[in-house]
Structures are given as C-alpha cells and as structure tokens.
Symmetry: C2
Subunit: 532 residues, 2 copies
Amino acid sequence: MRPDLSGVDPLAFNLATRLSVGDMLTRSAFQFPDRTAIVQDGEEITYARLDAAAEAFGRGMLETGLERQEPVAFLLGNSWRFVATFFGCAKSALVALPVNLMLPPDEVAWILADAGVRAVVADPAFVPLLEQILPDLPQVTTVVVTGDTSDSVAGRTALRWDDVAADPTPLQVVVEDRDTLHCLYTSGTTARPKGVLTSHLAVHVAALSSALQVGHRHGHEFSVAPIVLPLFHTTALDTLLLPVLLTGGTAILPPGFQPEAYLDIVEGSRATHLLLLPMMWAAVLATPRLDERDLSSVRLCMYAMAPMPQERIGQIAAAFPNADVLLGSGQTECVPATVLQWPAHQDTKSASWGPSVVTVDTRMMGPGGDLLPRGETGEIVYRGPHVMSGYWNNPEANTAAFAHAWFHSGDIGHLDEEGVVWFSDRLKDIVKTGGENVSSVEVERVLLSSPEITEVAVIGVPDDRWGEAVTAVVVAVDPAVDPSALSNRLTALCRKQLAGFQVPKGIEVLTGLPKTATGKIQKHELRERFRG
Amino acid sequence: MRPDLSGVDPLAFNLATRLSVGDMLTRSAFQFPDRTAIVQDGEEITYARLDAAAEAFGRGMLETGLERQEPVAFLLGNSWRFVATFFGCAKSALVALPVNLMLPPDEVAWILADAGVRAVVADPAFVPLLEQILPDLPQVTTVVVTGDTSDSVAGRTALRWDDVAADPTPLQVVVEDRDTLHCLYTSGTTARPKGVLTSHLAVHVAALSSALQVGHRHGHEFSVAPIVLPLFHTTALDTLLLPVLLTGGTAILPPGFQPEAYLDIVEGSRATHLLLLPMMWAAVLATPRLDERDLSSVRLCMYAMAPMPQERIGQIAAAFPNADVLLGSGQTECVPATVLQWPAHQDTKSASWGPSVVTVDTRMMGPGGDLLPRGETGEIVYRGPHVMSGYWNNPEANTAAFAHAWFHSGDIGHLDEEGVVWFSDRLKDIVKTGGENVSSVEVERVLLSSPEITEVAVIGVPDDRWGEAVTAVVVAVDPAVDPSALSNRLTALCRKQLAGFQVPKGIEVLTGLPKTATGKIQKHELRERFRG
C-alpha cells in the first residue's frame, strides 16, 4: 500500500515528513530560542543565533556553486562555528567532512583528494597548512576562513565565514533520510584511512537512542555538557553534542583540556554529563582539593576508547556522588554509543562493554558467517540503523564490511548470559601460535601490571616453528634499565599469570611506540619492524 | 557522496542497516528472552515466545500468497496474538490494518473493500461478522481465526492462527524505512473513513521519541503498563505498547476496563505508566478505599483525547503520589504523542496540550499558508518524521493535507511564549457568525459547567441574518426537565460568561447525541438535522 501523492509537491512532502539532522536544530531553536546552545570563551550562543547562522552558512555554501551531497572539508577546532558549519551542511544536504586536526599535512591532502573536496572551511590556524597542500589540489576552489584572513589562500579567493553566512533567507532543500550527513575518515592503523559515509537517519536515530540511554530529558531538566574531546570524532559529535542539542541542553566548548580548568567549568556550569578518556579521568582525580568541590550536579561520568581499572571507577564515583560511571563503546562505522554499560554494571561488570543500546543488535560471528551462541568468542558484528551507509570509493571494503548480512567490526569478543558484550581484541591483533589463538590484549594486561613499564604492544611475528611467535614490545619507566634483565623479569611475571602458549617468546624494549594522530598504537609498523 | 555497494547483496545491506519496527522486537527478544513482554489472563508471554510467534506468523502469512506491502486486516481484541500479528506483519513487510472493533458491519465491509484486503485475521467473536460481510467481498480469500474455528468461514477455508504460525525458520525479508507499517482508518465525523498509511520510520522514531519523553529507561528500571485502550488505535499501539516493548518492559492486557480490577492490576504489578481517557480517570477516582491502595510504583498518569478539570488532575496527583499527570495529544495522521505536556505544566498549564515532542515541529498557519507569530490563532500544522506517508486511495485528501509544505491537522489553536500549544477547536467546528469566529469548544465549556446537563455540542446553523447562528444541542441530566425553561437558564449562564456574539441563538434539548464508534460526537449529523 503506497499513497497516491501525484498532487503533492515533492519538496513540500519532504519538508513535512523527513528525518533530517538539520531539523533537529530547527526544532530546538523554535522551542528554546533564547536558551544557550553553546558556550565558548565565555560567550553564550543562543539556539536562535546558532540556527540562523547554520542556515545562512548552508545557503552561502550552496551559492558558491556546490551541488547537493558534495563534501565540505572542515579544518576547525571545537567552536560554535564548527557546530554551525556542521548544521549548515546538514540543512543544505551537503556532506560534512571534518578532518582530524592531528593528521600530518600529506594525510590531510590525501583525504581531500580521495573525497574530491572542492570547498574547505578552516580556522586561521590552519591556513598555513592549506598554503602548503593546496598547490597540489587543483580541484579545491573554495576556501572559507572563520576569522580574519588575507584575500587569498594559495591562489584561491579566501571568503570570511561571517560573509558566507550573511543571507538569512530560510533554506528549502530536499534532504532524504539516507542522504549522507558526514564523511569521517578513520585513522589508519593498518592502511590508508577510509572515508566512512553516515546518513541523516543513522545519526538522528543514534542521537535519540543516546539521549534515551544516558537520560537527557526534554522539558524536565536540561543537560549541561562540557566537551573537550574533538568534535571531528563521531564520539563527541554524534554521541555527546547532538543528544544535548536535541533536548535543548547546553554544550560548553573549552579551548582545551586542563583538569582544574575543566573542573572549574563543571562546578560553575552545574554540568550534568561528562565524557573523558581514561587518562583524562586520571588527571581529574589527581587535581588538588577535589573533595572540596561541589560536583553534585553531575549525573553521568562517561569514558570511552578503553576500560579503566575498577579502583579508578570507584574514585570517580566517590568524587561525583550523584553520578553513574559508564563506558561507552562503538566505532565510526556504527555511530556510537553502540554498546553502553548500564548503571547496574558499574561495579559488577566494569571491564565489559555493556549491552547493546535499544537500536542496535550485537552478535558474535564465526569465521564461516555463523552466529555463535552466548559465551563463545568470535568477531563482534552489528546490525541496526546506526550502521554506516558504506565506505567512500572502496567497493572491496564494503563487500567485506557487509558479508553475511551483518556489519563486521573487526573486534573480537563474546556475549555473556545477560547479553553483555565483552571485548577481547582487535581481530587482526590476535596472535595465532602453535595452533592456539592468543589475545594480545590479555597478555598486554599482565605486562602492564608490572610497575617497570609504561606502555606495551603485543604482536605476532612470523616464525617457522610457531606460525606466529607472541612478541611483546614495551617502553620502560627507567630509560637506563638493562633490557635483557627487564625482559627476564617480565617473562617470569607472564609465566606466573598466563598459560605457557601465551607467554611472549620475545620481549623488545623501545623508548616509544609508533602511534596514529589519535594516539592508537600502530601495530602494523611494529610487525613490519620485527618481521624476521 | 554515495558509497559504491556494487559488491554488496541488497538483502544483506538492508538487514544490516534498516530501521524497521519488526527489529524492535527482535532486539528486545535477544536482550531479554526470558522477561515478560505481555501478560494476558494471568499468562506471561516472554519476549522470546512473542518474537518467535510473530516471526512464524509473518512467514505463514507470506506463504498464503500475499505480496509484500499487501494489507492484512485484523478483527482482534487486545491480546498477545494481536501483538504477534502486528509484529508478524512488520517483520514480513505486510501492512497491518487493525479494524476498529466498534464499527458497524457495513463500515467494516467498506474498509475491507477500500483497502483491497485479501486476508483477514479475526478472533472467534468476530466470525459471525465475517459470515455477514464476506459474501459481498469476493477478493477476501484468506481467513485466519485466533481460536477454535470450523473448517470454513463464509465459504473460505478457515486457518487456525497457531497453524499459520507453525514454521520457526527465521524470516529474511527486505523492509525499507518508508515501507508502510500500518493502515489505520480514521473514524469519520464528516465523511467516509480515510486509510492513514504510516511508515516503519515514522512509528519507530515516534516510539524512541515517546520513550524519551515519558521516561522509559533501558537497563535502569523496566516499565510496566496496563493497556485498556484498544490497540487498534495509534495511541495505545504506537505511543504506549511500542515504547514499552522497545525498552524491555511489560504490557498487561486486561480483558476490559473495570476501575477496581484495573487498580488491582496496577497495585499487583507495580505498574509505572498509565494511560486512560478522562472519564476512566473519573471512574478510578470514584472507587472505594482508593487511599488504602499502594500506588507508589506509578510514575506517569497520562490522559488523552480531551482536557480534564484542574480539580480532577489534583485528585489523581494526590492518589498517585510519585506520578506526573500529563495530557498527550496527537492524531492518527501524525503518530502521537505529537504534543505532550511537561511535568512543569501539570499545574500551571493543564488546559494546554503542551509543547511539541523533540521530533515534531508544531506551528499555526493562516488561511493563506503563512506561518503565524506566537500568540496568534490559526490552524495547527505539523512537520516531522511522525507525519503519515499519505492517505490510501485518496489523492485529493493528500494534496490538501500537505499544502504549503506542512501537514494540516484540521485543529485550531495558538502557541504561547513558551511554545506551548493551546487547542481551541476543530477547524470545521468554528462557527462564523455576524463576522465573528466563535469557538464551539469555548461555548461548550461554559455550558458544561451547568450541573443540569451531561453532554453538549455547539454547532453553526445556516442563518440569513448571522450567516451561521450559534446553536447548542444538550442532553439533560433530568430527562423530565422542561426544555424551554432549561434553555432559558442555560442562556442566562452563557450571558454571564460569554461575549454577546458567542451566546447561542438557540438551545436544543435531546435525549442523546449521535456518535461515531469511538465515541466522538458527530456534529455533521446535528448540522444536518437542525439545518433550517
């Protein structure tokens, strides 16, 4: 049964019925025009102002000649203009392509070329980077700068952001549910970054789901969230910022993360929802006179990327007396939070990832594509509207990603009897040795319990006898330590706590580990280095 | 930017990424297989059993030869098999068409013919109705009966529901976001009923939005909701049942509404979310020894369809000490709750409809299609993913419904400074008299304050002098009252409280008012009767 819409204007029908992320801001701005959406450098940007700026910016970008669904690359730090640029793209059916600001210039250039970017929006701080890379990127014709700028950048006319966002006439653009909202390039631990395309539907549903799971309430109390993680990542953008703006709350964008300044903001703004990385939580706990602060407003302390020791979770719970402490997990290809701990698991299952959110299925898959029963270890696979539309310009990766009708995460884990996901390792980081599978994460956990080392990576090195030999690469606390003696002590530690086949056959001591721009250890470089 | 999915199987991609209402149950059944989804006649149906039955029933219906997106008409009372039939249709991309059980046979027959229904699922109680209407509906070839049945109904082989739902092999059917999920015929206060087609996307997003607004929590506490309103209406189905099942809660389906039995269920099940009509709340408040009951588990007392006096709201709040009391509004064409009071408005704005939910825009439109500023009265229009896909088989109605790029509700109201919607009347119930617009609802409110009458309808009657003459039709408490004297007393009452042009020019006393099957007063019949 389909309705006969022959007499209905398609644009009118789209405007009246669509699910678009741009409308999320339109709605909050109509309901709460004078409430503060964003606080930056002490300035309060209201919903009405943010929405008007976003709409005008989107209109301005279309007027530069961009077609709908073309990418707009951002080189923008966390700021209200980042948010307005993002919503401007959403409202005009352009694709937001926020670039990871920690990438080296050649990788930024590679991404701009791969995505066929014609328009770039940059903070003044990134103009020198553009001067460096644009000469080799002739297709980039539009450069917009958020602050003062000279008239041209690398030979292109430079537009001021405020001038682009000058025309307040409302936008009327068709935005389809499955139009691409953003393209986020994943950092490459193994290969060139891949452009992950995500739809309006995926991000809007994930924002509703996150708001429901973490308790943002519409019209009851309003959430306040300081955001120090970069908005160019899906975690801060889709999982924290958007649910806050969906429900009329306030996002505070500090210039960076400094633990005491952060706590001053939390206290002063009566913040409700916090999201930090584990090492940031450690820094927060180490601040002086923490127990003298009034942190009673905080209802949720989230962390992401990695588990935290139970002891630290307990310390956070003590410092924030009204807050739950939860791990949120996910990946760029499946808008997080995909899997989120429940408060009931704060103490009992803090090392788990928690159960799926309401809009996601999570299962474990065997190598042949069979779904495994609870308790068995396999690749973590996802289904649901959070899942990406596909990788840009990479049909082979898409074929692999959607094999057997589930999205393949590349992570290994199992489900327990409660349907709680326990992560064990990245698929490619499993070491296959003498017919056994060794989880590098498990060995790393034992090694990290030694007070003598600060960092560790366990890899498999090709070996005639074992297939792969379990090999640990460590960074010592004391740079002057005798590597051979340290290696012997660590081997002894592993013998006590691990099965024989899990004990590293070799332990290498380095002064540092190779990392991506986002701080992930590049095991593929280590494998290359210790091959043979 | 669109991904190249040339190597991806379309069914695999759909299964991995779709937003479908059937998957809502799949997910809850995987996460909470042994939790109770439905309680009926003391029997507890687990999520695992409900999901398996739904999937098997969907498969069985496809095997009768139905094509995807064909309608399946239900003549089913509230029961777990209603829920399984509904999800079976959702999972197999069939269109659920639950028929209003209060309609007369000729209207049921008209709907089945209009929708081109080939398959009907009925409770044994409705087999006599089918025997009566099927002889004139040759296209109906499949009849499924939920209980014991003879081998044939009106010459068709009758299938037993449990036999149709016998094959447990999992379904693998493409379900698109905008496929039609259900077709609900609106009761006709003015004309023949219209089939409202609503998509999976609309209902799924509305369920997330409702869960967020009314505080169903996933993995915190679980909601328990007794449902006595009929599931063939969007209110009970989409706004109460689905958000409860989305979040792993329990729906209790009593055989009918009897106030003391209802309260026994609320108390015994530690119910959290209640939804009743205003007259049902009055009956609940009138039960003996209400104050001796433990009703502390209830967190929300919702009502729908009509406002309640402030006094009754206060009484409910007193009886349910931990509950907010809220009015939810909406209509079949825009999955409710579209507009929902906030707890902050329980006391201050209880006569309002409240603000839009997060996924809906609500505005007021003038006759020329212009959006009106706050404070001005016009037609209530909606935008957002809750809005229907269109009316079935009725292009003229669709053209009118989506005029000026907003969905036209046919209701009149205004928005206040807080964005709160205040309903004043149905557009067609405004009386135009002597150049003034009179809200029939406003006059009805004054008349109802008289203890002498139980019901009232105010209409406009064509009049040479006034254009329309404001006319009140009332039902007296005392059937032996002198109509002329009563009319004089009511006119005097109106003169005290209304402007002169609002005072009825005539007051008619009847013993009852004509109503639709759902209890709405049929003003068009009254207009016809008192014309001239």
